[in-house]
Symmetry: C2
Subunit: 205 residues, 2 copies
DNA sequence: AGCTGTGAAGTCATTCACAGCC
DNA sequence: GGCTGTGAATGACTTCACAGCT
């Protein structure tokens, strides 16, 4: 299998969501690249090309089976298994993430949260116990989550990343507004909540 | 001024953050494209090209004046004025956003929040009063915010967008996991909190 | 007829490489 | 010597356009 462009991976996530909407709204068994493109605000050709990287899923003259395509995308995205994750920082953002629909639906399960605020330690967010950060290493080594989610203030982001790497997570999603460095073997993705506001400001200006 | 590639606009936001970190950490007056590229995890040439779209800010042999460059980027991004915004959905995500550092620092000021939950209406998030959604139109018409931030459940996202458009906001940032449609004159940006988790899952698989 | 899959063409973005300046 | 600014070269991604299947 050829190397997949990152834009394609990002769009797959969009297609999945559009397919779920399409299924819920129409319940039709097939969707064409044209229709899916319209839903995802994309050209039909790029939809077909994106999907063709992973095999020939379409039926000429009919389109793509909605159910089969959904399953394929989940398999491609490695989303047909449960993913354990830990949360560093038990503030509003961490809470919001845990409550984000799709978080659970996509198979992500938060097995522990960590915070340095003594008022939070020992409490729970939903089902998830909050531990002091000093327990991060031992808890991660015991529960072996692949994902670490950083939702601490910017100043503590690098330190959190270091702890997560040392404890053995394989991927880090950094929601803090700070650049962090991790070894190349770790998958690092940054989410910046205000970037799109800045971009919108640019386009308004 | 030539048309600016969107990737450039996105990187400007990163450069701004890196410059602030650089200034706080080193207090040096100049930074080279090499150094800034290292901080932003980018090639030095793209740093120079990005900045050159907007004029010649650099000093050959020395680099870029940190302070001047910061000011220039803020001006380019239209961030040297206050931006009023309203929040639709006063849940954890809305709270997290209001508390996000840089939100205020970048000049974004939330002038009202709206929610349909009667237990939230009349309360406040920090300084921000929570109104029923039925008051959205009148409040927006009165306070004239340019930005609407959607932090409601997916099912209510389109409805929220419609109300915001009708009330006259010029830009919408949609944090709900749903595609929304707005007229072309409205600047629409989507933020998907779980997309980067999905992408990380792909790269782990 | 309608739609997919894909090579070829086209477009856009990044990196190279170097002249010119401090 | 070190660094910027930028045309040229390269590379990456998207769209076109059509053969081929149902």
């Amino acid at each position: 299998m050829r190397k997949i462009p990152e834009p394609t991976v990002l769009r797959l996530s969009t297609y999945r969501r559009c397919l779920e909407d399409f299924k819920a709204q129409t319940n039709l068994p097939f969707v064409s690249s044209n229709e899916l493109g319209r839903l995802a605000h994309r050209n039909a050709a790029i939809v077909r090309k994106d999907l063709s990287y992973f095999g020939e899923y379409g039926v000429p003259g009919k389109g793509y089976s909605v159910d089969h395509l959904l399953k394929h995308i989940l398999r491609i995205m490695n989303l047909r298994r449960e993913h354990r994750a830990v949360l560093v920082g038990a503030g509003n953002l961490g809470r919001a993430l845990l409550g984000y629909p799709g978080f659970k639906k996509l198979g992500f399960r938060v097995v522990a949260a960590f915070d340095n605020d003594p008022r939070k330690v020992g409490r729970k967010i939903g089902e998830v116990a909050i531990f002091p950060v000093s327990k991060l290493k031992s808890e991660v080594e015991r529960k072996k989550p692949a994902f670490g989610l950083i939702t601490v203030p910017a100043a503590a982001a690098q330190e959190s990343a270091n702890l997560l790497v040392e404890a053995g997570v394989r991927a880090i999603i950094n929601f803090a507004p700070a650049r962090v460095w991790v070894p190349p073997r770790i998958v690092l993705r940054n989410v910046d909540l205000t970037r799109e506001l800045e971009v919108a400001s640019y386009y308004l200006g």
